[in-house]
């Protein structure tokens, strides 16, 4: 059986879901090693391959035009795309500046402009089709496992 190709990508967020994923690994690393090809998971490895993915996990909100283009590219390379955690699913709290008062905006606008950020921070489904959502801040390990197991059953019915 071909291993399931995994991509894990983090955008504007605190990467709490990445930490939770590394904690889930404590109990599941042996089965996952056999099941998954961690093809592009920068928290785990240096030599990442960016070609095609069976499942791409996207953590974080979308804060810049470059991030927007990258996520579209990932979508095109991936059979399934999963939005992970609150920032990816609803755009918050990473996108809290979207709700700032005019006075607060005066304090931050020069920094938004200096680094070429988007005028409004977006959630992942504003940019591309999302197949599965795992909400939470951070995600719940149980819900994450349930959704991952369902995807594995769909992609590799024989497992």
């Amino acid at each position: 059986m071909d291993k399931i190709k995994i991509g894990w990508f983090s955008y504007s967020c605190c990467e709490d879901n990445t930490v939770v994923m590394t904690e889930v690994l404590n109990d599941h690393w042996q089965e996952w090693k056999k099941l998954f090809d961690f093809r592009h998971v920068r928290v785990l490895k240096s030599k990442n391959i960016f070609d095609e993915f069976d499942i791409a996990f996207i953590e974080g909100a979308v804060a810049s035009p470059e991030q927007e283009e990258e996520i579209k590219d990932i979508r095109n390379r991936s059979k399934k795309l999963v939005a992970i955690g609150s920032c990816a699913v609803v755009g918050l709290p990473a996108g809290q500046r979207n709700t700032f008062t005019p006075e607060q905006n005066q304090h931050i606008n020069f920094l938004v402009a200096r680094f070429g950020a988007l005028p409004q921070v977006k959630k992942v489904s504003d940019i591309v089709k999302v197949d599965v959502e795992v909400p939470g801040c951070p995600m719940s390990p149980e819900v994450f496992l349930e959704k991952v197991n369902a995807l594995v059953a769909e992609l590799r019915p024989a497992v």
């Binding site: 590394t22 490895k45 700032f100 680094f115």
Partner: protein, 436 residues
């Protein structure tokens, strides 16, 4: 305000074989947490600021609670102080283990990833299991005390919302006892690790008066100066780095280091007696400014947190108690509160400014990676110059620089500082500007 995980860039300028400029910059987009504090009720601030960083979230909660309690005039109970110490021990075990096993260990064994370790090789098999067991024990302790190991739910202003039961405490003791041999193996590996880089530098840490810990004390520098927590960061100068989305800090016009290495340098005599006994040989290497001993210092801190936690869990029973409320009307007056703690990666400062109606009007956060940033740049400059000089003296003709090798050496060095999460792993994009 930003964290350091995810994307960072390094820009190097080399003219006639000399490094003339190093810019280590944070590419994470700002999320404006301190601006977003404004107008929020003070009760919401610790959970709000936890979202600055996933891996250090419980440090931010702890530091913010301390700042808010100081603003409100709240003195926590003895039981709360003990539970907070345990929460920090759980965090240190989990967080340092993630860094040492998953990020740094592959460099020592010439592997790309921790999961690439060979289960059929007895030594590598042992390390794989050790890594996940140690992480798991830290995670268990943090979850038992704080509700979650990431964005903890139970600690709050005035105390805790729920208390660990005896069954959980017994299980935690068992797990901690079980991992102690693994932690001793970890210390041995990092004591003997072949990487060294020693540039004499200033350093500082919050040093407690009594037992080695992460919450109380004075800020002590490598040259012996002492600053109280209430001074906030008056001894530090902030430096705007226009190329980076982060702010750097200097002390007396120089870069300095924070983290496990300064803590062990400045307070190794306060470690748990069992830790001092078991890690005596490793501890004889401190004080040191060899940045790769930051890894060893983290491994020693894991052992201390294991030994301390076993003691605390064995000697205490925890009973439900109400949250300590602010002194009457204190929430109705303007006040400033400061919190200073040692997060896994170094000294963390929070300031909260309270308006007259329990609403926050402003605040400031100084994170460890911001403080280390200037030191990291200086180190990289010296390291790259050394590698270029070595390359020039051995190459038979004007051979091109081995950029892959230099890039890898730089990554190893930066990883030893343990900047946040994914950047601690494998982020580096080097922009070379070269005129050899």
């Amino acid at each position: 305000m930003t964290k350091m995980e995810g994307n960072a860039n390094l820009s190097l300028k080399i003219v006639d074989g000399k490094v003339t400029d190093v810019k280590f910059s944070v590419k994470e987009y700002k999320r404006f947490f301190t601006e977003a504090m404004k107008g929020k009720n003070i009760v919401a601030i610790p959970q709000h600021l936890a979202r600055i960083c996933g891996t250090c979230s419980n440090s931010h909660i702890m530091c913010s609670i301390e700042a808010c309690e100081n603003a409100l005039g709240i003195t926590p109970t003895t039981q709360t102080k003990i539970l907070r110490a345990l929460m920090m021990h759980g965090l240190m075990i989990r967080d340092h283990a993630l860094h040492l096993y998953l990020f740094s260990m592959p460099d020592i064994f010439g592997k790309d990833a921790f999961l690439d370790f060979d289960e059929n090789d007895p030594a590598q098999h042992q390390i794989l299991h050790d890594g996940f067991d140690v992480k798991s024990a830290g995670n268990f302790l943090a979850t038992l005390i704080a509700g979650r190991s990431v964005h903890a739910t139970l600690p709050t202003i005035g105390g805790f919302l729920k208390f660990p039961d005896q069954t959980g405490m017994d299980e935690a003791i068992q797990k901690l006892q079980n991992i102690r041999p693994a932690v001793l193996r970890l210390i041995e590996i990092f004591k003997n690790a072949p990487f060294h880089f020693d540039r004499k530098t200033k350093y500082m840490a919050l040093v407690p008066d009594d037992t080695f810990g992460y919450i109380n004390g004075n800020i002590v520098t490598s040259s012996g100066e002492k600053y109280g927590e209430k001074d906030f960061r008056t001894h530090l100068e902030s430096t705007v780095l226009p190329y980076s989305q982060a702010v750097g800090y200097t002390y007396k016009d120089e870069g300095y280091m924070v983290g496990a290495l300064p803590r062990v340098n400045l307070a190794k005599d306060k470690l748990h007696p069992k830790t001092k006994e078991s890690a005596a040989e490793a501890l004889s290497l401190f004080p040191s400014t060899d940045i790769f001993y930051n890894n060893l210092a983290q491994a020693i801190e894991i052992l201390h947190s294991v030994d301390e936690s076993i003691d605390i869990l064995s000697k205490n029973k925890f009973v439900p108690e109400p949250l300590v409320k602010p002194l009457s009307d204190s929430a109705a007056v303007s006040a400033v509160g400061v919190g200073v703690i040692e997060a896994p990666r170094g000294t963390l400062y929070h300031k909260v400014i309270l308006g007259g109606d329990a609403k926050v009007v402003g605040g400031e956060v100084v994170v460890p990676t911001g403080q280390n940033q200037i030191n990291i740049e200086r180190d990289i400059g010296v390291l790259v110059q050394k590698l270029i000089d070595e390359s020039n003296s051995t190459a038979s003709d004007a051979a091109p620089l081995d950029k892959a090798k230099i890039g890898f050496e730089i990554e190893k060095l930066i990883r030893a500082y343990d900047p946040c999460m994914s950047c601690a792993a494998h982020f580096l994009k080097v922009e070379w500007e070269e005129n050899l």
